[in-house]
Amino acid sequence: MRPESSGVQVSAHFLRKRETVNQIAKYVLMAAAAISVLVTVGIVYVLVSEAVVFFEEVSVWEFISGTSWTPLFAVPTFGILPLLSGTIVVSGIALGVSIPLGLTLAVYLSEYAPDKVRETVKPILELLEGVPTVVYGYFALFLVTPLLQIVFPDLPGFNMLAPGLVMGIMILPYTTSLSEDAMRAVPNSIREGAYALGYSRFHTAVKVVIPAAISGITAAFILAMSRAVGETMVVAIAAGQMANFTFNPMEGAATITAFIVQVSMGDVSHGSVAYMSIFAAGLVLFLLTLTFNLIGFFLRKRYRQAY
């Protein structure tokens, strides 16, 4: 026997209306997705097209091999290496501070801390994210540098060490919060399995939980790295704005971002080679972060665990 129908009549008009809403929703959502893609494509287009004009004036080889960057001098030179070295040193110090500190903190919050402590510490930590970067810059210049000068009397007022250290604290929320999330996502059954074998709390964290969460932890580090490379204000304020080809953190130097902000302030005429150079520098920055993100993407794919 066939079951009887419910008997509720659906009008053709109602079905048509429903279908129209469905269609409209689909296009609105597609448009939203398209805007984000188009903006990205637009930025890349501007960067590349302006950089091409720059490279008509300056050879690519001079750009990537030159050790002097003086676009604003009477006799300008356009070697990107000094900016790149500044960027690498400052970001390196920042990551050197942030990764060990962030991972330790994440292990503590995820594996040791009682719920109450975690619920207090985590929001405070995430508050660090909300501090304007200008504040961090002055913090580096007027507090950290003088303190460091007590230990290193020869340290100049503008140096890469202080902004590097401060930036390490600044990106701490990224390294800690995201790696802690990844560790907490490791199912409790795996933790209990480790304890049941006689693992101590520390061994469980280091030998079982961290390896199981490695894909999320990597993602956190990559994000922190991109953030450090792209950071502007702290270095522009506290590291000086003199391009300087050195890997010595005790010296002042400019990073790619610090140079871009300096030129964008407006004392360079529109359309000059110096003006164009910020697009070439911006392109290098873009490629740098793109590379990190790609590495992160593949590492994540490689180590992803499904539970």
């Binding site: 009682p114 199912p187 059954s189 795996i190 933790r191 209990e192 399995g193 480790a194 304890y195 049941a196 074998l197 006689g198 693992y199 101590s200 061994h203 030998k207 079982v208 390896p211 199981a212 665990q305 499904a306």
Partner: protein
């Protein structure tokens, strides 16, 4: 396997007859067998409270016979898993729990409630309801417990990996892919890997917490065969909510209800001639 099944059928029939006769069971509230043979542990007046104050174990005393399989049965929520997890102090991972009474490991006669929890877990192994291999290779899973005991010699590890996997009846299936991820195996294989991982460190007692409840019937049969093989070599305490399973694989059975131990008996006797009315009601399906 077939003999096991007929014995199962006999169990329920004789139990029914016993119920009709109704003589010996009605009078007894509790009945505990004093088993022959060496003991591996003795539980005395064990009580356990969770952090919220609920008492999950109420005055349980029970022997655990050396190198035999003991099954814990009872309806959901009767405290059998809680009882099992007292043996390796798993509850200590969560704050605010309380024990009283003792679980003495024999022959040393040490109360494991008083020992350091990590030391207890080094001596008492456990396999869980859901397979929980580490996201590492099969080989690394088996040696996980050995490494933290400081055993690092390659030849020693290789040998223990082979014997443990053979004991867990997994060797032939995985010997050619020891270095592949454990999570690529089927659920049943993962569970046998977890058993191999627990056996690799030669535990004094092996706890099994409903080890087949997440497995299909074929995988379940394999794990049951494996537990039968372990009997005579390893002291096993297993929680199961499948009475047929308890009848098939255990030498001794304990029936728990509302945190209390009702009857502890030889498995055949418990299922064929239960001494307590409440045991009989449960195994004949009149209750639970």
């Amino acid at each position: 396997m077939s003999t096991d099944q007929t014995s199962t059928i006999q169990i329920s029939q004789s139990a029914h007859q016993g119920g009709q006769a109704g003589k010996p069971s009605e009078t007894r509230e509790h009945w505990y067998l004093e088993p022959d043979g060496a003991l591996r542990a003795r539980v005395s007046n064990l009580k356990f409270w969770y952090a919220d104050g609920t008492q999950a174990i109420d005055d349980v005393s029970m022997p655990l016979v050396d190198k035999k399989v003991t099954a814990l049965i009872g309806p959901s929520g009767c405290g059998k898993s809680t009882f099992l997890r007292c043996f390796n102090r798993m509850h200590d991972l969560y704050q605010g729990v309380k024990y009283s009474g003792s679980i003495n490991l024999l022959p040393e006669d040490e109360n494991l409630i008083d020992l350091d929890a990590n030391i207890v877990r080094m001596r008492v192994g456990m396999v869980f309801q859901k397979p929980n291999p580490f996201p590492k290779s099969i080989y690394e899973n088996v040696i996980a417990g050995l490494k933290i005991r400081g055993i690092r010699k390659r030849e020693v590890l290789d040998e223990i990996v082979e014997t443990s996997l053979r004991q867990a009846a997994l060797w032939d299936e995985v010997k050619d892919r020891l270095h592949q991820p454990a999570l690529s195996m089927s659920g049943g294989q993962q569970q046998r890997l977890c058993i191999a991982r627990a056996l690799a460190v030669k535990p004094e007692i092996l706890l099994l917490d409903e080890p087949t409840s997440a497995l299909d019937p074929i995988a379940t049969a394999k794990v049951e065969d494996l537990i039968n093989e372990l009997s005579g070599n390893v002291t096993v305490l297993i929680v199961t909510h499948n009475m047929q399973q308890a009848a098939r694989i255990s030498n001794y059975t304990a029936y728990m209800y509302l945190g209390k131990l009702i009857e502890y008996n030889d498995t055949n006797d418990l299922f064929q001639r239960p001494k307590c009315q409440r045991t009989e009601d449960y195994i004949t399906g009149r209750f639970g």
